[in-house]
Amino acid sequence: MDEWDYSPLILASICGHENVVRLLLEKGSIVSRDTFEGSRAIYGALTDSIRTLLLSYDITKAVDVTQPFASHISALFQKPRFTTADLRIGEFCLNRFLLSSMSSYFQTTEIDLSKYSARSLQFLFEYIYLVPSLDLNAVKLDELRELAQVTNLTYMQIAVDQIVSQKTAADINKAKNIIQHTMYENARQKLKSLVSKIIDHHITKPLDIDLTNADKQKLLRSCNADLVFKVNIGSTSHYYPVHRAILSRAEYYLTLFVSGFHDTAIFEDLEQDGVVDLEKLYMEPELIPVISLPSSDTLEVSQETTEILLQYLYFDEASIPPESAMDTLVIADSLFLDRLKTMAAISLSSIDDFSTVNISVYDILRAAWEFKVHRLEDRVAHIIANQIESFIKDPEFKEVILESSSRISARQEFDTIELIDDIRFHLTKRYAIDQEGGTLDPTMTRVESEEYLERLQEYEHYIEEMDLILQDLGLNA
């Protein structure tokens, strides 16, 4: 890096030295569109052929969506924050639910892989846990192939063959990139099936009627789960079998699991040598912990929203229909799931026609303030500006202006009102008003088209109207 943070790769790229770029990439320079450096190299590329070359090495090319998901799964194997493993094979501590989701082999109770070397097993589990190294050093290929066959992991066998058949280091890296992508997609599909299973097996009871011990047992066994997740929906309570390993993706649950309170303290007693004895838990179902959402007092959630949360946590799926977006926003906020929060906000921003949904622009604005989503505030200002003619007469509009102004504690006379500023900005856009006022060339007399003058008039009209409202409210802005 030089003093302007140019990496050798960026310099080679923007100066058009294709051979240097190729050399650097082959020697292991990292290019990632997700990083500032990576995008600088790609978008600064002098020629198309360099750009193509860079993109062919882009490690984030397809996996950027799944990255946080994959690294969470890897961490469960490599450096778990707390013990969730419930299965020991050789020296490895593993999660039975994950293994059996990936391969039917692990669904049987008779697992015997003792004849395989630790190195082969390590490769296998790293593959399952999405560890991106795919390191074939010191691996006996024949043994690994056999292991893949025994465990029904055809994908892994193909992956190994693909890596072995590459000749140059660069080609191996390229192949690994592709394989990683396949690994992630494959894992997401398998976990999607798991979520379907969770939903299929979930139990519904009248509101706040507890599960029987038999229910609990059955529920957890169905998915090798270690927790019951309870959500009150309308007049019923819904119980889902869930996994601490996955829920801990949310910081709220991670803290809950590690903080030493009563809620999940039972697992400390069940743990031995890095593995939790789930069978023991199933045998004493009254000890099975039941957890829920922190927002359960204030928010009535729907089954859809619950499922969105599970899908996001288990396999990173996050397409949120506008109807569920508001609830998802609140839940994501309470669990500190920032990415899900952003996605909910995007979904809310996509509402164009408020007549089809049962929610007002003001509701969205207030939620944006409440949960600090600036993207939504701006979106609302945009919507209001585009329909200023109707909003200007709406009494609730005055109300939110007041609310907006009160958001700055100890308001000074010269403080602006954020909402008004945003609307003014979007009005200039709407009417395409030239804020600079004039051309750069003073010799040119500006010929204002009639159409422009009309727009300007209209624009000034609404600005005036808004000022009147402010005057009315006794505000200065």
Binding site: E251, Y252, S259, I291, S292, T298, E307, S319, F336, N358
Partner: protein, 796 residues
């Protein structure tokens, strides 16, 4: 799940419920949280539900009651610390012993940290939403601040100062060798470091950012106490007036202290404390320690006490990598050692002489004359100097880690001493002369090589190389002419070494001298062949006459052409040979001037006495005296000094010396002198000594005062005059050379260039160069520019 995103029956999206906050609701929720905090503080958390507590705090924050919650939490934490924790600690202070108290403090602290972690876990939403929005410290940090203010600093730092005093006391005990619980010290200091004095970046109270309780309250006391401790230690050691004791203890003290620092003091304090300690132990006292007469730097150097010197070096390096104080002291001692060289050498010589006398008490006649003694002195002096130099080399290598700064300092001290006067140049030349003539004979090639290399070491120190050149040329000339060189290889080896050292221009004259001798040998044998059948020579002598000549190029050799020698009258045999050779030489090299220098040569004469014949080798002068006056065909049997002088015209001082050597020296008394005194007077009468006897057949007449001797003061000042003259010439030549090339130059440029060109030979003073320039202007080689006074032009 195909239906999951589809619009189901329920399409209503509701905004979150609008919650209006009211006091009653707050109380209802807050009571639960407050009780939970108390339970956590009393270590009863395992019964509490995280979910329930989090949900309550979450709801309070959503209801905009974050500020109330935040403030109440702080008060609740404070209440417990003030009422329970603080009181418990004060009680412990009264009743328990110090260590139990510290352990209690630490466990209270650790419990508090654990409580705070759990409390802040439950209040995560408050931290993330409320505290963040209002830029307040996190609840966890609030807990630390409350601990600081309600426990440690409460009531005018009551507990804090007690703890500080206990710990400092512990550290002092540890310094005096008591075993203490270092883990508790480390733990308490860690606690103090965790208590920040500033939370926000904008410190309005003048406390720098990053300051903590340890830095603000503990460290200053520690440093003050440490300073007192080290100062006391240093003073106690100083009283003993022993460098060894001081240094060994200082090493031990600093080692121990560093171990202590490593064990329980934080990294920030380490450099401060070490600096303070080094200042008290080393910077302030080491110079006076080094100066101690009997057990200080001087005695360690004299005794080659590498261990102490190495310790000293190590200590001083701690405070000053430039080692200024060591350099200062070392220079003084080096100079002292150098000055001692004179007395030391003298004492050694006296001792040697005494030993020689003791062994052979009868041979008092062997007592050397003063000049010979002086030569021995010079040789031994150089030898002693080399020993001294080697001693310091060993010290630098073994004790000072070859530190370049110290090596330079020692060398420059040597150089300063050796260049105080020009004796060194002469001594060195004598040392080499003595070696080549005598002492190298029975040494192996490697030993000789080593001695020559050592000579070069001394040579390097000498600034005025031209002075050395002068002496070396003189000594070399004598060696060559008197054939006293033990080996030509050694001579050439020495010249090669000098050449490698400062270049061929310095040695070209030495090489020329060698070439002259070589050519002369060939020439002589050619000449002798040519006169083999010469009838005239046969007739004069009837026997064989041969001549070996050395033809010396005047400019190479140091001896000036002595005009008075032209008057010397040669006996007929020699005169004939001289004439023959002159014509022989003229046919070989026409147009060259030959000037004879009989004062350097020798003659072999076969002398017949009634009982025995002898082959006598004597100086040419002696031969002239014998052949001219005491020949078979001489008119008289006796000649007075004056008569001999009139016949031979040998310069009187030389004549006296040579007469002495053939009439006074007991072994070679070829002539009888009346009266039989040692001195030669004009009225003295000389005649052939018929009774001459000698056990050997071959006799060598030693000429009085031959060989290389140390110069006396008059001779030395003559030498210096000669050198000065040649410096004038060299400087003027340099000026002319430069000006001829540049045509014009400023004064300063010219002076600089002259110095640059001459530095290998001597360092001319600018004033000296200025005189030379003025001289050259007078002689109209140069002229001052009319435009600028300090610019010169070259006049063709």
């Amino acid at each position: 799940m195909s239906n999951a995103w589809g619009v189901r029956g329920r399409t209503k999206i509701r905004p979150p419920k609008k919650i209006v906050s009211n006091e009653e609701d707050f109380e209802k929720l807050w009571v639960v949280i407050r009780n939970a905090i108390k339970e956590i503080q009393h270590k009863n958390a395992s019964k509490l539900s995280f979910e329930e507590l989090y949900r309550k705090a979450y709801n309070l924050v959503l209801r905009k009651q974050g500020k109330m919650l935040y403030d109440q939490v702080e008060l609740t934490i404070q209440e417990f610390l003030l009422q329970d924790t603080r009181k418990e600690l004060l009680e412990s202070l009264e009743t328990d012993d110090e260590r139990v108290f510290l352990l209690k403090l630490n466990s209270v602290w650790e419990d508090h940290l654990l409580s705070m972690r759990m409390i802040s876990d439950v209040l995560m939403y408050l931290d993330r939403v409320y505290a963040k929005e209002f830029h307040l410290p996190l609840i966890y940090d609030v807990g630390l601040t409350v601990f600081r203010d309600s426990v440690i600093k409460y009531n005018n730092n009551e507990i804090g100062m007690r703890v500080i005093n206990i710990i400092i006391d512990y550290i002092n005990k540890s310094r005096h060798g008591e075993i203490i619980d270092k883990f508790i010290i480390k733990a308490i200091i860690y606690m103090f470091s965790s208590l920040a004095e500033t939370i926000s970046m904008d410190s309005s109270d003048g406390v720098p950012y990053g300051e903590n309780y340890y830095l603000r309250y503990f460290e200053p006391v520690l440093l003050r106490q440490s300073h007192e401790y080290f100062e006391r230690q240093a003073n106690d050691l100083l009283i003993q007036q022993s460098g060894t004791i001081y240094i060994e203890n200082a090493m031990q003290l600093s080692q121990d202290e560093e171990a202590r620092i490593q064990l329980y003091l934080p990294d920030v304090t380490s450099p401060k404390l070490i600096e303070l300690m080094d200042n008290d132990l080393i910077t302030r006292n080491m110079e006076s320690i080094m100066k101690l007469e009997n057990d200080g730097l001087k005695s360690w150097v004299n005794d080659n006490n590498f261990k102490m010197l190495a310790s000293l070096y190590k200590l001083i390096t701690r405070v000053d990598t430039e080692l200024e104080m060591l350099k200062r002291q070392l220079r003084a001692i080096v100079l002292l050692n150098c000055e001692e060289l004179n007395t030391k050498t003298k004492e050694e010589l006296e001792l040697l002489q005494k030993q020689a006398e003791d062994q052979e008490p009868d041979k008092k006649t062997k007592k050397r004359n003063s000049k010979e003694n002086a030569t021995q002195f010079a040789v031994r002096w150089i030898q002693n100097f080399l020993d001294l130099k080697e001693k310091y080399d060993l010290i630098s290598k073994n004790a000072f880690d070859g530190n370049p700064g110290l090596v330079r300092e020692i060398e420059s001290s040597f150089a300063g001493f050796l260049n105080l006067d020009n004796k060194t140049a002469e001594y060195l030349s004598l040392y080499i002369d003595d070696g080549i003539k005598k002492s190298f004979k029975d040494k192996s090639q490697e030993e000789v090589e080593e001695l020559l290399d050592k000579s070069i070491i001394v040579f390097r120190f000498i600034k005025d190389k031209d002075v050395f050149e002068k002496y070396y040329k003189n000594h070399l000339a004598r060696r060559l002419l008197q054939q006293k060189t033990s080996s030509n290889d050694v001579e050439m080896n020495m010249i090669t070494k000098l050449k490698q050292e400062i270049g061929s221009s310095f040695t070209s004259k030495f090489e020329g001298m060698f070439k002259d001798i070589k050519i002369s040998q060939d020439l002589s044998s050619d000449f002798n062949v040519s006169i083999a059948g010469d009838e005239e020579i046969k007739r004069i002598n009837g026997r064989k006459l041969e001549l070996d000549t050395s033809i010396l190029t005047t400019s190479f050799w140091p001896m000036p052409i002595n005009k008075t020698l032209v008057e010397v009258q040669y006996p007929s045999e020699l005169e004939l040979l001289k004439l023959r050779f002159e014509s022989f030489y003229n046919t070989k090299y026409s147009g060259r001037n030959l000037t004879w220098a009989p004062n350097f040569g020798t003659v072999d004469i076969r002398m017949h006495y009634p009982k025995k014949s002898y082959e006598v080798n004597m100086s040419t002068y002696a031969a002239i005296i014998l052949l001219s006056c005491f020949n078979e065909s001489s008119e008289k049997q006796e000649y007075t000094f004056e008569e001999i002088y009139n016949i031979t015209r040998i310069p009187k001082p030389d004549l006296i010396r040579h007469l002495q050597s053939i009439s006074v020296a007991s072994r070679t008394r070829l002539l009888k002198k009346t009266p039989m005194s040692k001195d030669v007077n004009p009225e003295d009468v000389f005649s052939v000594n018929d009774q001459f006897k000698s056990p050997q057949t071959k006799i060598k007449v030693l000429t009085v005062s031959s060989g290389s001797k140390v110069e006396d003061d008059t001779q030395r000042s003559e030498t210096m005059d000669a050198i000065n003259k040649s410096r004038i010439l060299e400087t003027e030549a340099a000026v002319v050379r430069i000006m001829k090339a540049r045509r014009q130059s400023s004064h300063q440029e010219l002076v600089n260039e002259v110095i640059r060109q001459l530095i290998n030979r001597f360092k001319p003073q600018p004033s000296f160069i200025k005189q030379r320039i003025e001289e050259l202007i007078e002689k109209e080689y140069l002229a001052r520019s009319e435009d600028a006074r300090d610019v010169y032009h070259y006049l063709a």
